[in-house]
């Protein structure tokens, strides 16, 4: 049976969660539920709290503060009072309480609630940290572990209760209401908790393959892992693939294209919901995770609907790829030599009469890729002398130079310094003098390289 809810003149859902107290007062005034005298009383009481908090902020050393600081403290006070007023399920009751009560009392109540929320958030965070899904996406663990820890370190409920401090870079899938301070963090952590619990049902390797199939640089991309895994599970269940392995393949995708072709939104909703019921038989998700997923299903269904219309289902139902494919060879330019020694090497090269002597100095003293490039630029070598040196370098060293000076760079060649232009010209003169096979090999090596 549906519970009967008391309704009032103010619709709670229309009020901002972020600035609840301000929104409540504004609405109450516009509906003439709060007179100007009552509003003035509220303002004065708030300002009395502000004066007290400012004194605390200054530790009694100063009677004045910058306006920005005072505004911040006032925002914090209003957020705290708003937290207390949110406990009234009907906003009209909250307005009545504002009229009859004292803001100081609400402030104290709100402070106590915020303390409880901090404890809740810390407990939730500790629960998540017990088992964080293993992924090499650079936003996942750093946000969940380090950023949230940073929040707890910076959060000051007395003077900045409304502040979030962190950017929470890792995006959660289900939309969040705009909230502030600790309320935002609790909501964010709840979403993360469910998504993390869901992802823990899959092997990190399978998820890595799936994400690799979605985007090459999934490690450095701001993507939601849960979304792709859930879509893959639905795709696997619908097409008969193993959802635990997330192993969709081309025939599965073809089947899905056939299954979803021409289906309307509500039909896709039903198909997706049915797939989730089936998945429930394979996995044993906790109730909270199930509720979270059921809120995600309509969103997944909408992406499927759009993808089906645009014939881009493969962007929703991702075919996993081998993470080793397309792996980059990481090259470090090495450490540069001491400046004094470097100057004497350059002077030695410049004093050498023949190119043979110059190369002898280079091969004797230059031990890193960083120094090699510097010497080629700084030693005043002519084009032919550079080519002489290049002929004696290894394939890796040439490939590194090719990486540094690509054939089609994203900049104008004229933007390079003169000595860089000479080096680049000599490099390509040398490359084009090589047999075609060798040229291609060098270019391929340079493409697989990634400079540190």
């Amino acid at each position: 049976m549906n519970s009967i809810q008391k309704s009032g003149r103010i619709n709670r859902d229309e009020l901002s969660e972020e600035f609840y107290f301000q929104a409540l007062l504004e609405k109450a005034c516009s509906l003439e539920m709060l007179s100007m005298q009552s509003l003035e009383k509220v303002q004065l009481e708030c300002l009395a709290i502000l004066a007290k908090q400012t004194e605390l902020y200054n530790k009694g050393n100063s009677s004045s503060v910058r306006i920005e600081t005072a505004k911040d403290i006032l925002d914090s006070i209003m957020f705290t009072i708003g937290t207390a007023l949110k406990t009234y399920p009907v906003s009209d009751d909250a307005v009545a309480a504002v009229k009859s009560g004292n803001m100081g009392t609400f402030y104290r109540q709100g402070s106590k609630q915020i303390d409880v929320m901090i404890k809740t958030a810390k407990a939730l965070h500790a629960f998540i940290l017990r088992d964080v899904f293993e992924t090499d996406n650079i936003f996942y663990s750093p946000t969940i572990i380090d950023a949230i820890n940073g929040f707890f370190k910076l959060y000051d409920p007395a003077f900045g209760a409304h502040k979030i401090h962190i950017t929470a870079d890792y995006p959660v899938y289900n939309p969040m209401k705009k909230k502030a301070g600790i309320e935002f963090i609790i909501n964010y952590l709840e979403n993360i908790c469910y998504e993390n619990l869901f992802c823990l049902n899959f092997s990190p390797g399978a998820v890595r393959g799936l994400l690799c199939g979605y985007i090459d640089d999934y490690q450095g991309s701001v993507i939601n892992i849960y979304e792709h895994v859930l879509s893959a599970v639905i795709g696997c269940v619908l097409s008969g693939a193993n959802p635990r392995l997330l192993s969709l393949n081309r025939p599965n995708l073809k089947y899905l294209e056939g299954l979803l072709k021409g289906k309307t939104g509500p039909e896709i909703d039903l198909i997706v919901a049915g797939a989730f019921v089936k998945a429930g038989g394979i996995f044993s998700f906790p109730e909270g995770v199930k509720r979270y997923i059921s809120r995600s299903l309509p969103l997944i269904a909408r992406s499927i609907e759009v993808a089906e219309k645009n014939s881009t289902l493969k962007s929703v139902f991702i075919i996993p790829e081998d993470p080793a494919k397309g792996a980059k060879l990481c090259i470090s330019p090495g450490e540069k030599m001491d400046d004094e020694l470097y100057r004497s090497v350059i002077s030695g090269i410049m004093k050498s009469r023949t190119v043979k002597d110059k190369f002898a100095v280079i091969s004797k003293y230059i031990g890193s890729l960083a120094d090699l490039e510097d010497v080629l630029l700084d030693a005043g070598l002519s084009g032919n002398e550079i080519i002489y040196v290049l002929r004696r370098l290894s394939r890796t060293e040439i490939a590194v130079l090719l990486k540094k000076y690509p054939a089609s760079p994203g900049y104008e060649i004229s933007e390079l310094r003169t000595n860089e232009q000479v080096l680049r010209k000599s490099l390509y003169k040398y490359i084009y003098s090589l047999p075609a096979g060798k040229q291609n090999r060098l270019i391929k090596i340079s493409e697989t390289m990634q400079m540190e």
Partner: protein, 162 residues
Amino acid sequence: MACDLVLFGAGLVKKQAVSEVVKCNNITVNFGLFLTEAQAVELIETRSRALMDTGRVEFGGGIVDKVILMFCDSPYISMHNYEETLHELIEIFYYYKNEALDLIGDDELIKYMKTAFNGICQGSLDLLAGRELYNLARGLRFGYSLPDPDDTYGCDGEYEDE
């Protein structure tokens, strides 16, 4: 909620601040210094203007009475320059409160101003604001601790460029 912090700082406590300034006469009269109520109102207005100019807001009585009581025994203040000096001191105070990034408390700053004003500045407000407090604020911003204003650091001390 529209809370004009500046107005709050300037308006709501004005009456209380004026009465506190007038009350100071009980002590300053011993040094031959006296402020009328109109002069007290003007001082409070200067405070409000200084707060607005420096982007600050103040709660409570503020610092005007503290400045009066601290400077009333200065040998460089007499009835003919009393009011004018107080106006300037109030403006200087708030300006350097900001310049020192709030790293110095009200009482400390007022005490420092008094010692420098009576000492090395020999009653010159220009020297106080343009050299002593400038050096003090710069030093505090650079992380030095509060210097002793009796020292002649202003000319060749650690706050100097060279």
